[in-house]
Amino acid sequence: MVRSARATRGATAAADEDMVQLLAPSGERVTHPEYDLEPSDDEARGLYRDMVIIRRCDVEMTALQRQGQLALWAPLRGQEAAQIGAGRALAPDDFCFPGYREHGIAWCRGITPEQSARSFRQVTNGGWDPYEHNYAEPSIVIGNNVVNAVGYAMGVQHDGAESAVMACTGDGGMSEGDVAEAFVWAAVFQAPIVFLLQNNQWAISEPTERQSRIPLCRRADGFGFPGVRVDGNDVFAMLAVTRAALARAREGSGPTLLEAFTYRMGAHTTSDDPTRYRVDTEVEDWLQRDPVERLHRYLVAAGAADEAWTAEIDAEADGIASRLRDAVVALRGPSPASIFDHVYAEPHPLVDEERAQMVALLGAEDAGSLK
């Protein structure tokens, strides 16, 4: 049963499906018949800064988890361009439904790394006010948030608003029935939504061909809306294609599936051990396509970055990371009794009764003090 699937590894893993690229791994600009981006030096520098900062914070979070300060961390290393390109394409009014690894998009939505750390420290299962950032809470059960996103997009459409919605999923997520139902609804109602599929080649230990024998962007063909594969390690291509897809959604032309073809450079999470299932050569191969290095080469060639400026950005990132460390270590909460606070929005006798039982048992002080 399995051999047949393995046999086609190339089909999805290799970049044989044509893929939108505007920036070659060498850092040279390449052209594409459909998509283009003319970033100002400031814009390009801004994208670089974003990527350096989230990469640095990602390293810090991983270290914090190792030191027992976080329950878990899901590293984004390797996916910086996919997330920053997509995240910077979003307009303030757009709304995004992330998974659990979208720290880069969160950063673009004005969510601080410290806020991103909260659910991983388990002081909460959320971390920010979704309405303040037009960015939903993290979602861990794979697939169901994508359906929620389509519903939100139907609401945007019903409001007659000029905004779009983004829903995040992964290569593994593409196999969940919920994602297919989301595609059906989005297509039938022509919902203003962009499905951002980060194909990082792995679903924990399972390679993409365990989910599909053909490129995942083609999945959209079967539902009647466009699917595009983008070089997910090329921030220019990600920005250009995501902007176009969001514009298309806002115009009322319906959904688009964007497959950001990228790679999970690190472990699935800090609990994972990739050495059990993948070979170093694959990782080294992808290292050659590193999204941050690539943009840096471009900036240097364009004379938009020199050593001094690069060092400045690194220093800024280090500063953010060390402040992040302090903030995370200081994070407290919740209090035992607070678990009863938001089960329901309206009064609920059982919740009140059980809160009282807990307070009686622990004492008001302990029940109310942050963990």
């Binding site: 929620n148 519903g151 938001h342 059982l350």
Partner: protein, 324 residues
Amino acid sequence: MTELTLAKAINEGLRKAMEDNPKVLLMGEDIGRLGGVFRVTDGLQKDFGEQRVIDSPLGESGIVGTSVGLAIRGYRPVSEIQFDGFVYPAFDQLVSQVAKQHARSEGAITLSLVVRIPYGGGIGAVEHHSESPEAYFAHTAGLRVVSPSTPNDGFWMVRQAIECDDPVLFLEPKCRYWEKGEVDEAAPPSGLFEAAVRRVGTDATLVAYGPSVKTCLKAAEVAQGEGRSLEVIDLRSISPLDADTVARSVEKTGRLLIAHEAPVFGGMGAEIAARLTERCFYSLSAPPLRVGGYHTPYPPSRVEEDYLPNIDRLLDALDRAFEF
């Protein structure tokens, strides 16, 4: 005061809710042009348009899942699951998103959505059309579960459920859809989560909800003839449970019977029995007894009357309660 069937009363309640609040949308399979397989949404698409009464693609996770998104956007979606047996594909959405969004967001998101489900047996249906899934939902913190037993409650409770800022599963006893009753459009009978004493009695308390309330009232009638005075309580709300009302009655009668169509094992009757035993331990002259579905898949409907709680089974349990 107008006399309506339960189905029509819920239809009227939905209409009022849609008139009162433009954020109320209906979504489900065949609810628009057809008006729903039970006609509960009859005429609403014609009057409120296809934008507010939406015939959805065929997928329950899609229906409930998109309702979640609409609710996050500020709408008050009222979705319909065509039959009880088809709610399970939406179970993950209900347990992992509907029930948890408010807590996950620490209160930032209030999910005002209603999921309507015609439920229960007794209509001679084929497989998967007679299930009683309420215990699954009652065990799920974050959800509220209610079930009307009369047209007046159908009219008012559906409006109260839509006005509620929490997700509400609205379970409609399909075998009562065609039964008529007075609807008082002037004022609601009570709060959405309050139980109602349908019949006052002194010797034993019968607790039920939805389709079983009427069965209990009939049984009480027969018992009266045998010289036993039964108090019948219609829970109306399955979660939260109005335990106070039940406790007051049990302290008076000393005997408690619970009836529902769902299998007894792990059903709501277990929670009610356990909770009331703890609260009324010294008042009980007999253990709370449960009458409900057996531990089998819902049987072919030709034998459903022997599977469901019926007058004989209730009176038999009553006798046992008096033997203690």
